[in-house]
């Protein structure tokens, strides 16, 4: 077992065997477990929750260049705790993992960073809000009085790409599930989950040395938990859809050995969330392509009959494979059908 595999296993916390995707199905012993009926509190919930096993700050942006070319950008900071305490210095059990990606119609650039908590190389502070690993940053630019995430600056770079994006929210934070308590399986596994799906983006991307000004939309997800998946769940297909009429849809299917578990939140243009009951969302893979030596469904039919939604999603780049310690597919998509718009698709466990 080399260090890379070793890290892949421990970083996303798998104390006993491979259970579910990246060990997320492991038990939560010693770690805090999300409870229903506990409202989110800001700004402190923008920061880290070291007593929970896993947490992320997850931004996806659909962008367009001056010539109309579409791009996608991803900025993710994962926190993974080996033990439910903050700790200090090198002995802190808090580990950090950053993923950054830039997707163009014919390329998908990926970079990954790892860091230890406790020495200042990576971390998140709630106020003034800053999330960072190495020279990648997500920093609040919000005016006094506004929520810290209303305006943020996001930067990251890899060997062959970089981006620097200014994000301005045009709507409120949205609590997913039941006031932020998001159930992930019929057995009751859950996480805390809220989003800011209403960002307008301006900034620039650098694609192999070429600097391109871009504009677009972005979606930030915040989620933390200690055991978000049931042991038999093997991965998920997760959609963040931003429709041209201003409405948003967050929906996912957790795959297991049986029917799977779907969940969705419809978000009206004014930010009012409307959680859907389990099973209300239907997602159907339409076309699989070989990606990184495996078959990955890249074209999907997404149906939410309660809202009269029946759309097809197609990727900007079918090969949006995140070749990271724990590999997955993540890339921008275009929506057509009853509703039009753009969004992001994440597929894990393939």
């Amino acid at each position: 077992m080399n260090v890379k595999a070793f890290l892949a296993a421990v970083l996303l916390a798998a104390p006993a065997g491979a259970q579910g995707f990246a060990g997320l199905g492991a038990d939560a012993q010693g770690f805090a477990v999300p409870q229903p009926g506990q409202p989110l509190a800001f700004p402190q919930d923008h920061g880290a929750h070291p007593e929970y096993r896993i947490e992320w700050w997850y931004l996806t942006a659909t962008l367009t260049g001056p010539d109309g070319t579409d791009y996608g950008a991803q900025w993710t900071l994962f926190r993974s705790a080996l033990a439910p305490e903050a700790g200090t210095g090198w002995e802190s059990p808090q580990l950090w993992l950053g993923h950054a990606a830039l997707t163009t119609p014919d390329a998908h650039h990926v970079a990954e960073r790892l860091g230890r908590g406790g020495i200042g190389q990576a971390g998140v502070v709630a106020a003034p809000f800053e999330a960072w690993i190495d020279n990648w940053q997500m920093v609040s630019r919000a005016a006094g009085g506004a929520d810290a995430l209303d305006a943020i600056q996001v930067t990251a770079s890899g060997t062959d790409f970089a981006y620097d994006l200014a994000l301005q929210a045009t709507g409120p934070l949205v609590a997913q599930g039941d006031q932020g308590y998001s159930v992930k399986s019929a057995a009751g596994q859950a996480s805390y989950y809220y989003s800011q799906p209403f960002y307008q983006v301006t900034g620039s991307i650098t694609d192999q040395g070429r600097v391109i000004p871009v504009t677009g939309k972005a979606w930030l997800d915040r989620e933390w938990s200690s055991q978000p998946l049931a042991a038999d769940q093997t991965g998920w297909d997760w959609f963040s859809l931003m429709f041209d009429d201003g409405a948003r849809l967050m929906g996912f299917r957790l795959r297991d050995t049986g029917e799977g578990y779907t969940s969705a939140t419809w978000i009206a243009a004014d930010g009012t969330p409307r959680p859907m009951p389990p099973g209300a969302l239907r997602v159907t893979p339409l076309r699989e392509v070989p990606v990184a030596g495996r078959d990955v469904p890249v074209v999907w039919r997404v149906e939410l009959p309660a809202m009269g939604l029946d759309v097809t999603t197609t990727p900007l780049n079918e090969q949006a494979w995140m070749d990271t310690l724990v590999p997955y597919w993540e890339g921008p998509i275009t929506i057509s059908g009853t509703h039009a718009g753009r969004g992001y698709l994440e597929m894990t466990g393939y």
Partner: protein, 795 residues
């Protein structure tokens, strides 16, 4: 027919088991020496590679500071976009010795540096939190059972004496919180500006250890090869004899219808079989040789270069294969001439005695020409080329040239003896000796090589020892050497010593790059101890005054030679500034560049230098008492206060071990040469009957003949010994003036030791006498009928 032919051929060996033993012994001895040396080299190289590849240090650039680097500087660089990983290295004391402790951050470690297999099951948390987990090699783990260290895990990719822990645990164990030693840079990572005080150092292609120890291994290889070549002389003789004696059998077999191709094929098969048997035995013996020599080699490498080599030998399949391969190749080379003769054997030609004696004059002239060419080439290499390969090239040319020249020289000498001889018997003696030369020349050449190597290496080692001992006396002028455990303790000791010692001289040192190479920088106090004793090879007139005022510096011979530094040349110092060289001092036994400044200047450049080591001057007869008092007063462990004699003894011990291997190989080579001579004489004695029979028939007794034969052998050995002297001295000169300078960076004066030569000469005569004893005895015991039969059968 094939089976019958094979059994006829093989029956020869059953009837002459001694000959079979000689052949197998020669071949397996040659293989053993060669593969033993190869095994030692392979083991040592493998461990250098392991040492160098710990953290991929052989292929990764690194960022270093002038001294230790603050952990915050690492975090700042990461946050500026540098893809780097922190490393903290230090010595961790364990009972009886110390470990090279390496602290790493597994999360940021570049893939090239990740060669340790982290254990499954317990994961990262125990590794990064106290007490941590320590990875060591199995050998190291065995010695650390009760050392009170963190839980141990075995990682065989680690070199011995090295322990790998998390960097946080390393900071705790070494008591260096917030400190790192250097940072490894990810390959292909973007390079950015570095803040002052930090420098980017590109990876060094070959590891320092591999480079430093190259000479040592080349030395061993050269000896192994010499021994192998000498061993092949035995094989050649034995095969030649066996073929010669079986000529009638060959003829009979051919006459019975066995084709030349088939006969040659059968002989080849027989030889391959013998080569394989001897090769397997040889490789097994080589393993024994290596296992016996390795502890000394390991001690040498560790004492001289700080290279940790395990004292036990791993069996490598590649090494077995090459050992067998070289045995087979050696056999074929030795047998080529004989096989060629069998192939061209005239079917009906009478069984004439072998025509060894009729080696044509032209061949000898040609050989002499080649010899002179080789000698000239050796001279040219010494004149034009510098460096290790030029040195060894010159050695090879010298040895081979001299060996090839030997037959012609001996032949000339015998001709001279013949011309000056009075009386028939004396003339016959010289002529007969000359007649035998072609048959003996190969073994005489082997003897020459062995003797010359002995003289040369002996002279080199003895010269080195003499110089080294004298140098140690100068260099270790102080009576006691003190290492305090903390600076506070050092301060108390200084106060304590004020009234008790004549002088206390600080020995502070720092490490930094000088002219792009890692160097030690020492501070030197202004004191008569140094003014009177320090071994300067070159010095400016006012060297000590300029040193005292911080206006100049001293460099060691290694640095001066490598960088071509002379008196007055400026040497840039880390942190700016430059000082002229005011002196060059000899610094034997140290492979690293060294610079000496005044103590004040050193402390100004490196304020963080630990002030722990001091030399104490006191009247020699009071030294022991003072040491005793001091150990008691400060509860000082013995190793923290060493007296001059102990350090000298330790240094000399390292020195002796360095050359113990050389000496052992030398003796073995001489032994092999003796065997070669024995084999040749056995061969000749069987073939010489036709020449002896007429002399006997004319009235010379067998005892007289036997006595003359013994005399002849001793005479030849003596002449070879005389020839080996100048050759050996030339060899020693090349070793001292060329090879040592290239390998170690120092040049030693050459001293000659005639007493050693006498002893060696005696040994050579004894070996020749013993080698001749069996054939001579056989001659003396020959029945008259045997001699008479010569006339009946052969003539």
């Amino acid at each position: 027919m094939i089976a019958a032919g094979l059994s006829a051929l093989l029956s020869h060996w059953w009837r002459r088991p001694m000959q079979l033993a000689m052949l197998l012994l020669g071949l397996s001895l040659a293989t053993a020496l060669w593969s033993g040396v190869q095994a030692i080299n392979a083991e040592a190289r493998a461990s250098y590679d392991r040492a160098a590849s710990v953290l991929g240090q052989d292929g990764l650039a690194r960022i270093v500071g002038d001294g230790p680097v603050a952990q915050d500087a690492y975090v700042a660089l990461r946050r500026a976009g540098w893809l780097i990983s922190p490393v903290l290295e230090g010595r961790l004391a364990v009972p009886g010795s110390s470990l090279r402790l390496i602290g790493i951050d597994p999360l940021t470690l570049p893939p090239a540096a990740q060669q340790v297999e982290f254990g499954q099951g317990d994961g990262l948390l125990p590794f990064i939190t106290a007490p941590g987990v320590m990875y060591v090699s199995a050998e190291t783990a065995a010695g650390l059972a009760e050392a009170g260290l963190p839980p141990l895990r075995v990682a065989d990719s680690l070199p011995p004496g090295t322990a790998l822990v998390d960097i946080g645990q390393a900071q705790r164990l070494l008591d260096r919180p917030g400190e790192i030693s250097h940072m490894l840079v990810w390959p292909d990572a973007p390079l950015r500006d570095l803040p002052p005080g930090l420098t980017l150092r590109q990876p060094e292609g070959a590891s320092d250890l591999a480079r430093l120890t190259d000479s040592f291994h080349l030395n061993l290889t050269a000896f192994g090869f010499l021994a192998f070549a000498v061993g092949l002389f035995i094989v050649h003789s034995a095969i030649g004899l066996a073929f010669e004696q079986r000529r009638p059998v060959f003829r009979t077999l051919r006459a019975l219808g066995l084709s030349a191709a088939m006969l040659t094929g059968l002989l080849l098969a027989e030889l391959l079989l013998l080569a394989l048997v001897a090769g397997v035995a040889g490789v097994a013996m080589g393993y024994g040789v290596a296992a016996a020599l390795l502890p000394d080699v390991a001690a040498t490498l560790s004492g001289l270069y700080g290279a940790e080599v395990p004292g036990t030998l791993a069996l490598r399949p590649g090494w077995w294969a090459t050992g067998l391969g070289i045995a087979v190749a050696g056999t074929l080379v030795s047998a080529a001439q004989s096989l060629w003769r069998v192939w061209h054997l005239p079917l009906l030609a009478p069984a004439q005695p072998r025509a060894w004696a009729r080696a044509s004059e032209r061949a000898l002239r040609w050989q002499t020409g080649v010899a002179l060419g080789l000698l000239a080439g050796a001279g040219g290499l010494i004149g034009a080329g510098q460096g290790l390969w030029a040195g060894f090239g010159a050695l090879a040319g010298l040895l081979l040239g001299a060996a090839l020249l030997l037959p012609a020289a001996l032949s000339g000498l015998m001709a001279l003896g013949q011309r000056m001889a009075r009386g028939v018997l004396a003339q016959w003696f010289w002529a007969d000796t000359r007649q035998q030369l072609p048959g003996l020349s190969l073994s005489l050449m082997a003897l020459l090589l062995a003797l010359a190597a002995n003289v040369g290496v002996g002279t080199m080692v003895s010269s080195f020892r003499l110089t080294f001992t004298g140098w140690l006396d100068q260099r270790l002028a102080s009576e006691l050497y003190l290492t305090a455990r903390t600076e506070d303790e050092a301060a108390q000791m200084l106060v304590w010593l004020e009234t008790r010692a004549d002088a206390v001289l600080p020995i502070f040192n720092a490490e930094a790059d000088i002219r792009g190479q890692p160097a030690e920088i020492y501070g030197m106090a202004d004191h008569a101890t140094y003014r009177d004793n320090w071994p300067l090879l070159q010095a400016a007139p006012d060297v000590w005054d300029r040193m005292a005022s911080g206006q100049a510096l001293l460099v060691n011979e290694q640095l001066a030679r490598r960088e071509g530094l002379g008196l007055g040349d400026a040497v840039a110092l880390p942190g700016g500034g430059a000082l002229p060289v005011a002196g060059v001092y000899s610094d034997y036994g140290n492979p690293v560049a060294q610079v000496i400044l005044s103590t004040d200047r050193l402390l100004a450049l490196f304020p963080a230098t630990p002030r722990l080591r001091y030399a104490i001057r006191v009247a020699p007869d009071r030294a022991a008492a003072l040491a005793e008092e001091m150990r008691a007063a400060f509860d000082l462990p013995p190793e923290n206060l060493a007296d001059q004699a102990a350090i000298k003894a330790f240094s000399l011990q390292i020195f002796e071990r360095t050359f113990a291997v050389t000496a052992a190989l030398n003796v073995l080579t001489l032994g092999v040469a003796g065997l070669a001579m024995f084999a040749s004489l056995m061969t000749l004695s069987a073939m010489r009957l036709p020449q002896l029979a007429p002399v006997w028939a004319m009235g010379l007794t067998k005892a007289r003949l036997a006595g003359l034969d013994l005399l002849r052998t001793l005479l030849l050995a003596a002449v070879v010994m005389l020839a080996a002297l100048p050759l050996g001295l030339a060899l020693a000169w090349v070793l001292l003036a060329v090879v040592n300078v290239a390998a170690f960076g120092w040049r030693l004066p050459m001293y000659v030791f005639p007493g050693d030569w006498l002893r060696l000469g005696g040994l050579a005569l004894l070996a020749a006498g013993v080698a001749a004893a069996v054939p001579v005895r056989r001659l003396a015991l020959l029945s008259p009928g045997d001699l008479l039969r010569v006339f009946a059968h052969e003539r």
